[in-house]
């Protein structure tokens, strides 16, 4: 059974069809990439899948369960988290606190136990902190923990955002242009990280512009153009697909 199954999803903004009748599946344990020229509807597709924008038509199933009409936090609770194209870290909080918020779903403490500082809530918070440090360690950013998140360098912020998305041990993580704004070296490191995440059992769906990153690590690539699916295949096949070369690779000069 596919972990994520999107069928016939469509979304219009005013007169523009941002995403048109797109279907695809993501199998557990794979890295799947969505590519396409600017304005192809990649980010809209992500927003549709993660519950930020309701679709006009079509359905999204996560682990067999429909997540149609679910709000983002409900989608997250079912094991799908995401990062953002324009990094959205929590201002005024440390990198560690940011990642701890990512662990929100794995804790219970509410208003009352928080105010009363109950022993079990304290223990729970300690566990959250411990796990957050572990995740940061995994991504090699443990040293950033006590620093103000929004003051970090761009690449570091991307890594913190990634750690935050992974902190709740999701089944699948959606990465929205994770290499945007990164230099060559940072992009190579990112590629290693994404493979590492997958090796730890997290399925990855990513939207990307950077072809080198996508072709190197993806198991499958889906190509979008003007909101429609053009191709869906292994990276090598996509690269040699004449249609894809024409509308995308040709334009981009890769």
């Amino acid at each position: 059974m596919a972990l994520l199954e999107v069928s016939g999803i469509s979304k219009r903004f005013g007169g523009v069809a941002a995403v048109q009748d797109v279907s695809f599946r993501v199998e557990p344990g794979m890295i799947k990439a969505i590519i396409g020229p600017n304005g192809a509807g990649k980010t809209t597709l992500f927003n549709l899948v993660s519950g930020f924008v309701p679709p006009d038509k079509g359905s999204v199933r996560l682990g067999g369960e429909s997540i149609q009409g679910r709000r983002p936090h409900e989608v997250a609770a079912r094991g799908l988290t995401r990062t953002f194209q324009h990094i959205k870290l929590f201002a005024g909080m440390t990198a560690l606190e940011n990642v701890m918020v990512g662990r929100h779903l794995r804790a219970r403490s509410g208003f009352l136990s928080g105010m009363l500082h109950l022993p079990w809530a304290r223990r729970e918070d300690a566990a959250v902190r411990e796990r957050a440090v572990e995740v940061m360690d995994l991504l090699g950013i443990a040293a950033l923990a006590p620093l103000e998140a929004t003051a970090l360098s761009y690449g570091q912020q991307r890594a913190v955002e990634l750690a935050r998305a992974l902190a709740s041990d999701p089944r699948i993580v959606l990465l929205d242009e994770p290499a945007a704004g990164l230099n060559m070296r940072e992009t190579r490191e990112l590629a290693k990280l994404v493979s590492k995440i997958r090796d730890r059992g997290v399925t990855v769906l990513l939207v990307e512009h950077d072809m080198s990153l996508v072709m190197g690590i993806s198991d499958e690539v889906l190509v979008l153009s003007y909101g429609e699916k053009i191709a869906e295949a292994a990276p090598r096949e996509v690269q040699s697909d004449p249609e894809v070369v024409r509308i995308y690779l040709g334009d981009d000069g890769c």
């Binding site: 929590f90 403490s109 105010m115």
Partner: protein, 385 residues
């Protein structure tokens, strides 16, 4: 972190004791009355500070929740049910100890609700109203949210003024004392219990401070700060944004109702001025001065401004002072006066007096206006017109 929390509250309580001793020993014990009242108003300010600074929501109707607490307590403890003592419900409540008989103001016994159940009703009612109102209101943003909360406050105000059973323009007087612990702690405004009441109010304030600072550093507080920082990202991490905003709104309404109920017993009455929009605006001004999201800042601003106002230092300019404070804080230091960058403000002033020759279209001044801009700085980008 917890140690520093306890240390701060310890210092606060020590300061409260010192103020009481100095006031009493120097023969100025009467000042304790205004300090006690200021402490109760400060409870409202603390809740509002949490709401504005952490949940990022403004409320221009918070006096309404204070008044729900006060009016409910006042009404229940003064409405005489003795004429209906034969009715089964009244009789049953009477046997259960919910109703008590006491000497009425005009002789003869009256049968009224005991202050404790009245207090619980007051708090519950305020929480319920906040819950029901909060569900739709907290979905709004920016000036829509401001106007909606203002509207709620105005409705509550016109109910208080327009309802005969609530004393209309006169309010309710003759509210009995509230024996928190019979024979030991009595909330009342007469001179013999002045010191005890001072400590009840400041003890409560210290307790509220401890609970709220705990909350801020708990999972919920982290989620609230995350919502404030980047709402989308918070919800993508599984934070139920609407629920946390609503929870904070209800919590702040509960604090306001506790303050309203106890202060009404202390003052032996409540009037419609407590529910006026001006009162709500005043709470917002106080929180703004203290700095959004700074509980200690809100406390300091509230205790000092309320005390000065209650002692009559602002004279007939009372409301104007708060209006002026509001404008000044919003213009020069939206992060509160503690974040005020005096030198930067003067430089900015000079820049504006002698503007650059080229009319730079719309410079991004927001960053210069100070960090911790909080609820007020955040929406600049969202105002797509």
């Amino acid at each position: 972190m917890l140690d520093s929390r306890f240390a701060k509250i310890g210092i606060f309580l020590a300061a409260a004791v010192a103020v009481e001793r100095i006031a009493v020993l120097s023969g100025a014990g009467y000042l304790l009355t205004q300090l006690t009242m200021s402490a109760y108003y400060t409870l409202v300010a603390l809740g509002l500070s949490l709401l504005m600074g952490y949940a990022g929501q403004i409320s221009l109707g918070h006096a309404g929740f204070f008044a729900i607490g006060g009016y409910t307590s006042a009404a229940l403890t003064t409405w005489d049910l003795s004429a209906r003592h034969a009715e089964p419900v009244v009789a049953a409540l009477s046997r259960a100890g919910v109703l008590v008989a006491r000497a009425g103001a005009f002789g003869g016994d009256v049968l009224v609700v005991h202050p404790w159940p009245a207090f619980l009703c007051a708090v519950a009612l305020s929480a319920a109203v906040a819950f029901l109102v909060g569900i739709p209101v907290l979905k709004l943003r920016g000036h829509y949210l401001a106007m909606a909360t203002l509207g709620v406050g105005t409705i509550l105000s016109s109910i208080a003024v327009g309802t005969a059973a609530l004393g209309a323009a006169d309010g309710i007087s003759g509210v009995p004392p509230f024996d928190l612990v019979p024979g030991l702690l009595r909330v009342a405004g007469n001179a013999p219990v002045r010191i005890v009441n001072y400590y009840v109010a400041f003890g409560l304030l210290a307790a509220a401070m401890l609970l709220l600072s705990n909350l801020v550093w708990s999972r919920v507080g982290r989620a609230l700060r995350a919502i404030h920082g980047a709402e989308d990202a918070a919800s993508a991490m599984g934070v139920d944004v609407a629920r946390y905003k609503l929870g904070t709104f209800v919590l702040s309404a509960v604090l306001a109702a506790v303050a309203g109920s106890l202060l009404t017993h202390f003052n032996a009455g409540i009037g419609p001025s407590e529910v006026s929009i001006m009162k709500s605006v005043r709470y917002v001004a106080i929180v703004a001065v203290g700095g959004m999201g700074s509980l200690w800042g809100a406390m300091a601003a509230s205790l000092s401004l309320n005390f000065l106002s209650l002692r009559g230092y602002f004279g007939s300019l009372d409301d104007a002072v708060f209006g002026g404070i509001l404008i000044a804080v919003m213009l020069f230091s939206p992060g509160g006066i503690l974040s005020l960058d005096v030198r930067g403000a003067i430089l900015a002033l000079l820049r504006r007096v002698r503007p650059p020759r080229a009319p730079a279209p719309e410079p991004e001044d927001e960053a210069a206006a100070g960090d911790g801009v909080g609820v007020l700085g955040k929406e600049a980008g969202e105002e797509g017109r």
